[in-house]
């Protein structure tokens, strides 16, 4: 009985796995991110942006290697490290050599370690890991490896840029740091303490605390504490419902000072803050969407919205990933030798559609680019988020942020 079920299921499984592995000439990029469950909104947004970027920036302009096209193959990792490793294996089995992932640094750590081991154990089937969003600094420091490339500015770089702006504002004398209790939240807090100490020793950090991730039902007590501390500004790395909860509680409790955030936009968040967030809500990140950097960027954003009206260009760096990968493949002249493609990507300079220059630093595979401080507003926003009329508009820019920052990475090249 058990045996029979096993055979039937096994046969079906083999059939289904085989049917997905139809050999095509396209260069496939595996998109391994949450497509179901609580974090799926971000994953679905990312997938739409990848598909659009591959179509607009590569396939419509003649492809790579003289006509080969990009194809994005989605894999649902349910934001679980275990499922990510299974899907990674499935992707590799289908002959996919490029892995894109971004949501959750925990998953990124699992994938980068697995890719490193896989490439060592299977030199004929090596893969590259294109990390477009996971910003834990460790990934390009202690845990760096040749196969991992990060296209987003990491948490340290963003904080470096943010504190540049804060230290120019003499009104800010007291700052409150609050974040989620895990590696990223701790990295944000540590970077803030470090950079504020260097740039503005007179600023007092009146609070530095972590709360359990995804477990706080009501942020009101935290908001009370922050307001009572007399803080002139708040910095948080919170994302998802923790960001919404914290921000709403702060506004409801009467906080009028700037709230510097990493992820308070898109996937419903912009719509929820609406008019309440105008003024206090700021965001640090890359990718200038408003005002559009060029006519080309404007047209790209308009075309995207026309095709995906319910999604946002929340992660503009995805366009850079696709363009830089296409360039690297063309330069290497191959899409199957990962050492060649990786070497081509190292040290690459690229003019982004969003107006910034991008340098993929060879010593740690961290992209160096312009980092902006955005304001949440409805004025002068050509491309809004969540169809709410509100969006992010560049207020300050730090050119090529942290270009000469140190890294503990000891890159081992194959």
């Amino acid at each position: 009985m058990k045996k029979l079920t096993g055979i039937i299921l096994g046969t079906v499984m083999a059939g289904m796995l085989a049917s997905t592995a139809i050999a095509a000439d396209n260069i496939k990029i595996a998109f391994i991110d949450p497509l179901s469950g609580g974090f799926a909104a971000t994953g679905q947004d990312g997938l739409a942006q990848y598909r659009f970027a591959a179509e607009e920036l590569v396939n419509k302009t003649g492809g790579v290697l003289g006509g080969t096209k990009f194809e994005i193959v989605p894999f649902d990792n349910k934001i679980s490290p275990k499922e990510s490793l299974i899907q990674l294996q499935v992707a590799i089995d289908q002959g996919i050599r490029f892995i894109a992932q971004g949501n959750s640094s925990g998953v990124a750590h699992a994938i980068t370690a697995a890719v490193k081991k896989h490439n060592k154990r299977n030199p004929d089937k090596r893969v590259l890991f294109l990390n477009y969003s996971a910003v834990d600094p460790a990934l390009t420091n202690d845990k760096c490896n040749f196969w991992h490339f990060r296209f987003d500015a990491n948490a340290d770089i963003k904080m470096d840029a943010l504190t540049d702006i804060i230290s120019a504002n003499k009104d800010i004398k007291k700052i409150y740091l609050i974040g989620q209790d895990y590696s990223f939240g701790k990295a944000v807090a540590a970077a803030a303490v470090k950079y504020l100490g260097q740039k503005r020793p007179d600023v007092e950090i009146v609070g530095n605390e972590l709360h359990p991730i995804g477990k706080v039902k009501d942020f009101t007590p935290y908001a009370r504490k922050i307001i009572s501390s007399g803080a002139d500004a708040m910095i948080t790395g919170n994302w998802g419902s923790d960001m919404v909860g914290l921000g709403k509680s702060m506004i409801a409790a009467g906080f009028k000072n700037p709230m510097y955030t990493y992820y308070a936009a898109s996937t419903g968040i912009t719509k929820i803050f609406g008019a309440d967030g105008k003024g206090p809500l700021k965001l640090v990140g890359e990718g200038q969407i408003n005002p559009p950097a060029s006519d080309r960027a404007d047209a790209y954003a308009k075309a995207y919205k026309a095709k995906y009206p319910d999604n946002d260009l929340g992660q503009p760096r995805i366009a850079n990933v696709i363009e830089m990968l296409a360039k690297a493949i063309d330069k290497a002249g191959t899409a199957s030798d990962m050492v060649a493609v990786g070497t081509a990507l190292e040290g690459m300079e690229h003019d982004s559609i969003w107006g910034s220059k991008i340098l993929m630093r060879a010593k740690d595979h961290q992209a160096i680019q312009d980092v902006h401080i955005f304001g949440h507003t409805d004025e002068g926003v050509a491309h809004d988020f969540d169809n709410s009329g509100f969006g992010l508009k560049v207020e300050n820019t730090v050119k090529m942020a942290s270009a000469d920052s140190a890294t503990t990475c000891k890159m081992e090249r194959p």
Binding site: G37, G38, F39, A40, A41, Q44, D181, G207, E209, L210, H211, P212, G214, K215, V216, K217, D218, T220, P221, Y222, A223, R224, K225, I227, S228, S241, V244, G245, K248, A252, A253, G254, T267, G268, I269, K271, I272, G274, D310, D386, S388
Partner: protein, 318 residues
């Protein structure tokens, strides 16, 4: 001192909100002997229905209509789902509600997607009622307190002063005797389940605008609700009220004060390790109370169950 007052008020709001969920759950438990794992899912449905209604006709009709729809849905689940599973025993019943919770989350995502919904408090209540030392207390929260109080009083009146309440109480303890007296016990069960889930729906309608309306809102609250009624004592309305308030204040105060465990240990007399970064216990020394605030209820529950398995106010052991 003034912060203490604000925290007391905030804790009261959290506690009363929790009580709205617990009151229905504890009624359902004492009647059917099953912990309804999907209870928080009905709370989520309440918020989503009310949001949908509010986009057409505003907040106030949603406050009435959404709980009614949720209650009807709950009654249907009882009639066609739970009643069928009931005859297989308690474990399948519990597993049924467990699966139902997962399914409701999926259904919500199917219709409303995965993002947060922009469900807002009504404009009428969108002002600051009072300000204590720079901390604003929104009028909407005052409204929440009065709503919860009113529900508790009405429930207490129905259960202790009316004929329906007497039948319910009798059916709780001696279902067969009550049936023999000519009352329709299955109908009473269905009614209680419907009312219990409707109460959860009310909680969802009024909590949605402040705590956020998103697919994970049931999971965030889900197990805390059981913890509360277990601490309070299964089947006890007063116990549910006491435990809800206790947990509301516990969580509020834990989040409000930055007490570092290391300081407490030093105060008690333990020596601080010289080189903290190399110490195997470094995580313990740097821990703050606000970091562990949300898991304190679980700790409390395990302690209560080990010491007094029937809960604080419970009369019988389960």
């Amino acid at each position: 001192m003034s912060l203490l007052l604000v925290n007391l008020l905030d804790g009261l709001v959290t506690g009363l909100l929790l009580f709205m969920l617990c009151s229905g759950l504890t009624l359902i438990f004492s009647m059917m002997g099953v912990l309804n794992f999907a209870h928080a899912s009905f709370y989520m449905l309440g918020a989503y229905f009310a949001y949908q209604i509010s986009t057409y006709v505003g907040f106030w009709p949603g406050l009435i209509l959404a709980p009614i729809i949720v209650g009807l849905a709950g009654a249907l689940v009882e009639r066609y789902g739970l009643r069928r599973v009931h005859k297989f025993g308690h474990v399948p019943e519990l597993v049924f509600t467990f699966g139902l919770a997962l399914l409701i989350e999926e259904i919500v995502q199917f219709f409303w997607g995965k993002s947060h919904m922009a469900y807002e408090p009504p404009a009428l209540l969108n002002f600051t009622a009072l300000t204590i030392a720079g901390n604003g207390f929104p009028a909407y929260k005052v409204f929440m307190i009065f709503m919860a109080m009113a529900i508790f009083l009405v429930l207490l009146y129905i259960l202790t002063r009316t004929r329906v309440g007497l039948i319910i109480q009798a059916a709780l303890s001696y279902p067969e005797t009550v049936q023999n007296l000519g009352h329709n016990v299955p109908l009473v069960f269905m009614g209680v389940f419907g009312v219990g889930t409707a109460l959860a729906g009310v909680a969802g309608v009024i909590a949605g605008p402040t705590l956020g309306t998103f697919p994970g809102m049931a999971a965030v609250l889900g197990s805390i609700v059981f913890v509360t009624i277990v601490i309070g004592g299964l089947g006890s309305l007063w116990g549910a009220l006491a435990a809800s308030l206790l947990i509301g204040w516990l969580q509020t105060f834990a989040a409000s004060y930055n007490i570092v465990i290391g300081d407490v240990l030093v105060a008690v007399g333990f020596p601080m390790p010289v080189n903290l970064d190399d110490s195997a216990l470094r995580d313990l020394w740097t821990l703050t109370v606000s970091q562990i605030g949300p898991i304190l209820p679980y700790l409390l529950m395990v302690l209560v169950l080990v010491i007094r398995p029937q809960g604080l106010f419970g009369k019988r052991e389960t």
